[in-house]
Symmetry: C2
Subunit: 391 residues, 2 copies
């Protein structure tokens, strides 16, 4: 494994993030300058504390191959914009509570505004990519557009696979199904597209692009597995997302698949029953568990006090129970986490992530013509960073 | 006004729709062929019964200027794909019940899948627009991409304006605010982009494009005002959408703005109070009585039957009332519809729509070089169709 100083990774990320955000502000001010409220909301997620990994990967790949910063910066900023648009829609889809240590946008502004802000970010990405023609020339600009088009398609296909498995209660899944889903959902837009675009701007050869792409695809899978581990084991504040959100959402992670395979039939049955239940919805006064719980409790008390007949209590309790789909509880999630813990699935997943990172490192060695530089060091160091990170 | 036979409009629309859907199937099969479930969902809304107005406008503009059908068809299909992606996201945002006479997609599959299918449709639009380079040449393909980029941005900005007004309870709006919002939200993607793209493929002059654009912008405003009227007065089955959905959603239509201006202070206050309330959420059973309503009803019955004491009834009713945000009721909406009826706002709006259609007709007369053809007749006849339509 690499011997790069982890601190250098953070410094490189921070530098690229500053450059990217300045560029992103410029893009938004140029193209969305006339709609004040939307303008601010489009920048909300990007300006929150984040690593800005995708633009850094794009910039490093370009510069390690001798390409210019100015040529790659607009594309790097657009990758960050796409990423944040996906995060916004993901948060609505998952009804996540937090993002980057703050309340998810739809919880403050409502799902309608959050969905539209995401669409606006996707729309805003197109004009700068067309302006790229003046900056990097027609041929490269078109190839970058082709990568972005493929990236957008792969991401939604990966997301569709995951949502489809949840909807149909699918558990007949192998590790290879998970890897295919993650390749589409995560690798493509987090690693493959950034390095390809960086390479294209730098004028990389077909051979260099193939090697970069292999490196990125493998590292993306390692990254997502590690992300799944952090989701289950991380500290909320540091990780910036909801702990065990994947379990609340019933996601088919490698960890959960492994834990299910190793569980007893009775445990499997209980786990499936829990995971099939919806999570409590945030915006729903009428069916929120708190109202239900409070009503049920009050029914008991008033019946005990002789204020309600046993018959009336039965009727009302029935109405409460039949209306609502039973929802996941914190007890359910604690039980699932204990099951995962016992199964050793986190350690297993960490090991698989390390294997993918190792393969990525070997693939990186096949990228010829990289110039010795802080950019190359960043890419090398990233392999270790991905599997050692805690956020 | 035009003397075109309304029947000819329907025939032209139907022919273009068949061509568009065949092309759309080809696009989806080529680019989304590997993800079965997603593939079907992407075609769900487009295959429902609809006019397919946008592709027809695009095809007619191209052919009326002597352009080829083959050159314009992929772009026309992509416009239909964009439109349906927006509809999908709109339906989630508004929590609409129906779309084109059937259940809205998110009501069957849930909001997460519906949001992602919309994103997938937006993603799928890009690759065919890049392939356009081979079909219509580089220059035209890039100009079409620029129009689509602007279109996507204008649409989300218009949507943002509307959602922002609702969120902030804004009523200090003039007709000109409404027109600006509608120009962005509706005119751009329903009329301006289709005719510009048709013109570009046909090799239209700058002068022709300016005139076409003016025609389209004006006709788009007429179209949206008429759409608002139909939303309030149409027959559900024929219109294919939820009747008075705009009132449930609190949209600032020209009709509602006019009715508010003409109302007494007390009526204004009541209308604002109603419109500020959220609509009942679908998973709460928006069409069937909500859990809260059923519990309240049962409480009454059981109290009357002596099964519950007055004290217990009071406590439980209080608990039900305090937990929930008060929601719009069917009675509220009926009151608003009566207010609108009394104010004559529907007739007023119909008149404004006719004025815009008349201006559009004049603008159309300024488009020089149109060849006498069924395509030109369609565009002429459309002016009357837009303000006379009942669906």
């Amino acid at each position: 494994m690499s011997h790069a100083n982890p601190h250098l990774i953070d410094v490189y990320l921070a530098e690229c993030r500053d450059l990217t955000l300045a560029e992103l502000r410029r893009v938004v001010e140029t193209h969305a300058g006339h709609t004040g409220a939307l303008h601010e909301l489009v920048l909300d997620y990007p300006l929150r504390d984040a690593k800005a990994l995708r633009p850094a990967l794009c910039i490093a790949s370009c510069r390690a191959l001798g390409g210019p910063l100015e040529g790659v910066l607009p594309s790097a900023a657009i990758l960050e914009l796409y990423h944040n648009a996906f995060l916004l829609h993901d948060d609505v889809e998952d009804d996540s509570e937090n993002r980057r240590g703050r309340e998810a946008l739809h919880r403050e502004y409502g799902a309608p505004i959050a969905i539209n802000v995401g669409d606006a970010m996707l729309a805003l990405a197109l004009e700068p990519l067309l302006e790229n023609m003046r900056l990097v020339g027609l041929g490269k600009a078109i190839r970058i557009l082709q990568v972005v088009a493929r990236m957008a398609r792969e991401s939604t296909e990966g997301q569709a696979l995951e949502l489809d498995w949840i909807r149909h209660g699918r558990w007949d899944l192998r590790a290879s199904d998970y890897v295919r889903m993650v390749y589409k959902k995560t690798s493509w837009y987090t690693f493959v597209a950034p390095v390809l675009i960086g390479g294209i701007v730098a004028g990389a050869t077909a051979r260099q692009l193939v090697a970069l792409r292999k490196f990125a695809a493998l590292l993306g899978i390692a990254f997502q597995i590690q992300d799944d581990v952090l989701n289950l084991t991380g500290e909320g504040d540091r990780y910036g997302k909801e702990i065990a959100g994947d379990l609340w959402e019933g996601k088919r992670t490698l960890i959960l698949l492994h834990a299910m395979h190793g569980a007893s039939p009775a445990e499997q049955e209980r786990a499936r029953a829990i995971l099939a239940k919806p999570r409590p919805r945030s915006h729903d006064g009428a069916t929120s568990p708190s109202l239900r719980a409070r009503l049920a409790e009050r029914l008991e008390t008033l019946t005990d006090a002789g204020e309600i007949s046993a018959h009336a209590r039965g009727e009302l309790a029935h109405l409460l129970a039949t209306d609502a789909p039973e929802e996941k509880t914190t007890g359910d999630i604690a039980w699932l986490r204990a099951l995962v813990e016992r199964s050793g699935a986190n350690e297993y997943a960490r090991g698989v992530a390390r294997d993918y990172a190792f393969k990525a490192e070997r693939a990186f060695g096949e990228v010829d013509g990289l110039l010795p530089s802080s950019h190359r060091d960043f890419l090398t160091g990233l392999v270790r960073f991905v599997t050692m990170r805690d956020r």
